[in-house]
C-alpha cells in the first residue's frame, strides 16, 4: 500500500514553502544569491528524483544542472501560481523525460515491449536473491517507454499522487493511471521468475 511504505526522507527536510516563495521572488528580480539558496535547498531531492528517473547519477546531475539554469531563465515569468518546488520538479521531470526519449529509437507511445525472459527461471539461492532481483528490476525498468517509466517512478518511488503526476507530465489523470498500470503489468511479467 502506498501509505505503508514508511519513507519520509524527501519530506523531512522539505523546504518551507513561504521561504521558497520569498527566494523565488527575489531570484525572479535578478537576485543571484536567492537563486543559489534555492539551488541548495532543492538540489538533493531533485538529484534523487532524476537518478530514479534516469537510472544514472551522472546523467541525473547533468539533468538537474540544466534544469536549474533553465529555471533561472524562466524565473521572471514564474508568477508564484504554483509552489516553486512543484515548478522545479516539473522542469526536472520533463528534462529527464526528454533525456529518456533521446536515448532510444522512436517507439510508439505507451507501447508495451515484450518482457525479456528473466535470467533466472529458477529461484536463485536466497543469499544473493535480493540483490539480483533489484538488478533485474533495474533492467526491466530500462525496457519501459519513457512515458511509462516517468509515471511509474513518480508513483512508485516518489509516492506522487496520480493527480500530481498528470499535472507534472501534462497529461490527463486517466492517462497517468493507464501508464502506471501498463508499467506495472510489464514489470510484474518481467519479474515473474521471482515469485
Amino acid at each position: 500500500m502506498p501509505g505503508d511504505r514508511g519513507r519520509e526522507p524527501e519530506d523531512a527536510d522539505a523546504p518551507l514553502p513561504h521561504e521558497d516563495a520569498l527566494l523565488a521572488v527575489r531570484a525572479a528580480e535578478g537576485d543571484e544569491e536567492a537563486f543559489e539558496a534555492l539551488v541548495h535547498r532543492h538540489a538533493p531531492v531533485l538529484l534523487r528524483l532524476a537518478t530514479r528517473l534516469l537510472g544514472s547519477p551522472t546523467e541525473a546531475e547533468d539533468a538537474v544542472q540544466e534544469s536549474f539554469v533553465s529555471a533561472w531563465r524562466k524565473l521572471p515569468e514564474f508568477r508564484g501560481d504554483a509552489r516553486f518546488s512543484t515548478w522545479i520538479h516539473r522542469i526536472v521531470t520533463n528534462r529527464c523525460l526528454n533525456v529518456l526519449r533521446s536515448r532510444q529509437p522512436v517507439t510508439a507511445l505507451d507501447s508495451v515491449p515484450e518482457p525479456q525472459a528473466p535470467e533466472h527461471q529458477v529461484s536463485p539461492p536466497r543469499a544473493a536473491e535480493a540483490h539480483a532481483a533489484v538488478a533485474d528490476l533495474s533492467r526491466a525498468i530500462e525496457e519501459l517507454s519513457p512515458e511509462q517509466r516517468v509515471c511509474w517512478v513518480l508513483r512508485e518511488l516518489d509516492d506522487v499522487p496520480y493527480e500530481s503526476i498528470a499535472e507534472t507530465v501534462g497529461i490527463s489523470q486517466e492517462a497517468a493511471r493507464g501508464r502506471v498500470f501498463r508499467a506495472r503489468r510489464y514489470l510484474t511479467e518481467a519479474m515473474a521468475g521471482w515469485r
Binding site: G30, E36, Q173, E174
Partner: protein, 253 residues
C-alpha cells in the same frame, strides 16, 4: 499522500485497457490492482484465485521495489555544493536585462543596476528581527525626474522611489514595521549606495507566526543592530514607535 485518487472504484476504464487485460474470472486486471492500491475492500477478489494471483504478482513487484529503495544510498552520492557552483557559474555569466538607476547628485554620472540596489535594500530590511524582504523594485520618482533625458536603458537622474514587499513576524505592529523598513532602506541608500530616495512604499504581504519566521538556515542576519540609518534626511522620518514594546525591542534607537 497517495490516497486522494478519487473516483477509482467501479467503472474506471483505463485508456487502452483491452481484453487481454481481463483475468480469467472476467475482472479487469487494472481494476483489481487499483482497488488494492486504493485500499478499497473487494469481496470478489477475496474469494477469487485469479485475482489473488494477480495481487500476489503486484505485491511481489512492490517487494522488489521496496528493496530497490532500500538499496539507494542513505547519503546521496552527489556533491550538491559542486552542482550549485556549476549552476551559479552559468547564471552569473548570463546578463539579465535590468534597469540602471542613478547614484549621487544630478551632475554625477554614477549608476547602479536595479538588482544590485534591490539586494542592498533587502539585506538592510532583513536585519530587522523577523522581517524579510521579497520583491523590491526601484524606480525614478516621476515627480522629481530631471528634465535631462537619461542615456538609453537608464532611469532619469533624480531621487528614486522604492517599492518593497515584506514578510513580518506576528509580533510586529504594521505601522511600526513599515516605518522601520523605510528607515533601513533610506539608511542603506544613503550609507551604502549614495542613492537619493524620494519615497519608500512598504507592502506587508505576510504575517508569519513565530516558528515560521526563522529562515531555513540561510543565515540571514537578523540582529538588526548595525544599520543605524540617517532616516530623517529625506523627510521620511520614523513613525511613532510607541505602543508595541515587544516589536520595538532590540532595535536601534
Amino acid at each position: 499522500m497517495a490516497m486522494n485518487e478519487s473516483g477509482a472504484p467501479g467503472g474506471t476504464s483505463f485508456g487502452g485497457a483491452s481484453e487481454e487485460e481481463l483475468l480469467p474470472c472476467g475482472r479487469e486486471l487494472a481494476q483489481v490492482w487499483e482497488l488494492a492500491e486504493a485500499g478499497e475492500p473487494d469481496p470478489h477478489t477475496a474469494g477469487c484465485a485469479h485475482c489473488a494471483e494477480a495481487l500476489r504478482a503486484l505485491r511481489a513487484l512492490e517487494g522488489v521495489v521496496a528493496r530497490a529503495r532500500d538499496d539507494e544510498p542513505p547519503v546521496p552520492p552527489w556533491d550538491t555544493a559542486a552542482l550549485a557552483d556549476r549552476v551559479m557559474d552559468v547564471v552569473r555569466l548570463e546578463l539579465r536585462p535590468g534597469r540602471t538607476l542613478p547614484l549621487g547628485d544630478v551632475d554625477e554620472d554614477a549608476w547602479i543596476v536595479e538588482a544590485a540596489a534591490a539586494r542592498t535594500f533587502r539585506a538592510a530590511v532583513d536585519t530587522l528581527p523577523g522581517v524579510r524582504a521579497g520583491s523590491c523594485r526601484v524606480e525614478a520618482d516621476p515627480q522629481e525626474a530631471s528634465a535631462a533625458a537619461p542615456p538609453p536603458g537608464r532611469l532619469p537622474r533624480g531621487p528614486a522611489r522604492v517599492r518593497v514587499e515584506v514578510q513580518a513576524g506576528l509580533s510586529w505592529n504594521l505601522q511600526l514595521v513599515a516605518d522601520e523598513v523605510r528607515a533601513r532602506i533610506v539608511g542603506a541608500a544613503d550609507h551604502e549606495l549614495g542613492m537619493r530616495i524620494a519615497a519608500v512604499d512598504v507592502v506587508v504581504t505576510d504575517l508569519l507566526d513565530g516558528n515560521e519566521d526563522e529562515p531555513g538556515g540561510d543565515g540571514g542576519g537578523r540582529d538588526g543592530d548595525e544599520t543605524d540609518s540617517g532616516v530623517d534626511s529625506t523627510g521620511l522620518g520614523k513613525g511613532d514607535c510607541g505602543g508595541d514594546e515587544d516589536a520595538a525591542e532590540g532595535r536601534q534607537r
